[in-house]
Amino acid sequence: MISIDKAYKIYNKGKANQVDAVNGISLDIKDNEFVVIVGSNGSGKTTLLNLISGSVLPTSGSITIDGNDVSNLPDYKRSQWIARVFQNPLSGTASDLSILDNFRLAAIRTQPKGLTIGINDAFKKQVTEKIATLGMGLENKINQPMGTLSGGQRQALTLLMSIMDDCKILLLDEPTAALDPRSATIVMKTADQLIKDFKLTAILITHNLKDAYNYGNRIIQMVEGLILQDLDTAKKSALKQNDLFDWFG
């Protein structure tokens, strides 16, 4: 599904403050793989994710998604395959727009945004039913501005929004970092469920080693812009939680 070949992302090249954020990574992610990436701050996890999403373009190397070379494709064009959940709940939703408007945009992620009114009764019903599955009682508030909701509610809705339109890849960049433990659990469980139900290929960045242990079927540890460890499904299930803590010892 995703194939990265010798990707480099170097900021301020040749200057005193040069940063080798991603330092020649090659990585193949297969269909339906749920990859968890762990690593200290500055190890290049987010840059790697941004290279995949297209928010940053590689200094050199190539990125292929679903057989298409996307190395120089900007993020708004890669959205035809990729849905994202950001670390900051504010980044994934538009505060001043209603929940319904947010969902409308998500429902046409892979399509052009035309001059027709897409919100009708059928669409409202569809959104209400989708939101009801969260069990957060938000289904009666679809006309409320997104900004009136809590961070946890917004992250959960962002997750739901990702599957409103055809989605192959789900990128989760520390989705629970800004949430309280209870909301974090709900968001992670929802994500895991959606990934299984919709057979998504997913990448999760997390600092929560418990989540890294509990979720996903492949785990990668990054250090200084490189992949230090890469455990497949069998090795990951053999992994013990304490081993994970030792990685950071």
């Binding site: 708004y76 990729i82 945004k113 035309g114």
Partner: protein, 289 residues
């Protein structure tokens, strides 16, 4: 014409500026200074073309296109050259001053007896009432178009652009193109205000655009105050309030003149009034703490 009727008519003339600023605020979160120049651009084209005996209804599309190009230029300078949006607006506004002067040939163009939309279209026998009715119909049409636009999928994407750029890019919208298009629409609306005002006052003057961005901003801020007070989410109500803001603004200025304040102080009054509206919610909020 009655003092306050004039204020009402002027407010309606400025509705294009108000709607334009509303759009640019929604997509950028900052006031678009191009407004001063594109308003005058609309006025310059209107004055010049009418004097060359072009009928008012063929002038309108020219004005709309000219305004749109001015806005698109600001958008391109901001997005493609990565220049701060405020500075981009100031640059285009400054350049437009020379362009407007070139179009007009001199700094003031009186229209005298040349027919305008206000006497081409006859909705009422009374000329004052006719002007008001023509404007009401005109503004209603513009508002309907903009209201519809903002409710379409494109419109939602536009409103989201100023709100959460990361989100809207992840949802497949080219934000650069959106900003350029949005600014083009905003400045086309502003130029239409220049078109209306030139015909209403019967002349185009090179200084008529000065401070126009403040008029638009004032109108939008009055509207936002109500929107926040009553937690309004409806697009139609919001647009209505923006128009209401544009009219209220003119009434305050008319009242100021009526009270005997020197006309030379009008811009000062305008600035103080906008400052008051901006700061009022914060002042009262602090008291409640």
């Amino acid at each position: 014409m009655d003092f306050y009727l004039t204020a009402l008519v002027q407010g309606l003339c400025f509705s294009g500026v108000a709607l334009g600023i509303y759009i640019s605020m929604k997509i950028f979160n900052i006031p678009d200074i191009t407004t001063d120049g594109s308003y005058m651009l609309g006025g310059a084209f209107t004055g010049t073309l009418l004097l060359h005996h072009q009928p008012a209804y063929t002038v309108l599309p020219v004005v709309i296109i000219a305004g749109a190009i001015a806005g698109a230029l600001t958008g391109i300078i901001h997005t493609k050259l990565k220049i701060n949006a405020l500075l981009a607006g100031i640059l285009v506004m400054t350049a437009l001053y020379s362009i407007n002067l070139t179009i007009m040939g001199r700094s003031n163009l009186p229209l005298n007896t040349i027919p305008t939309i206000f006497n081409l279209v006859n909705l009422s026998g009374n000329p004052n009432q006719n002007t008001l009715l023509v404007l009401l119909v005109f503004v209603a049409i513009i508002t309907l178009i903009i209201g519809y636009l903002l409710k379409t999928d494109f419109g939602i994407a536009m409103r989201a652009t100023g709100n959460s750029e990361s989100m809207i890019r992840a949802l497949g919208v080219n934000t650069d193109r959106m900003k350029i298009t949005g600014l083009a629409i905003a400045n086309a609306l502003t130029a239409v205000s220049g078109y209306l005002m030139t015909q209403f006052q019967g002349f185009a003057d090179i200084s008529m655009g000065i401070g126009m961005v403040i008029y638009g901003l004032g109108s939008v801020i009055i509207a936002e105050a109500f929107i926040n007070w009553f937690r309004i989410t409806s697009i139609w109500l919001s647009l209505g309030l923006v128009l209401f803001g544009a009219i209220i603004f003119q009434f305050v200025l008319a009242l100021t003149l009526d009270l005997g304040v020197d006309a030379t102080l009008l811009k000062l009054v305008t600035a103080v009034f906008v400052l008051l509206i901006v700061s009022l919610p914060r002042l009262s909020f602090n008291k409640s703490l």
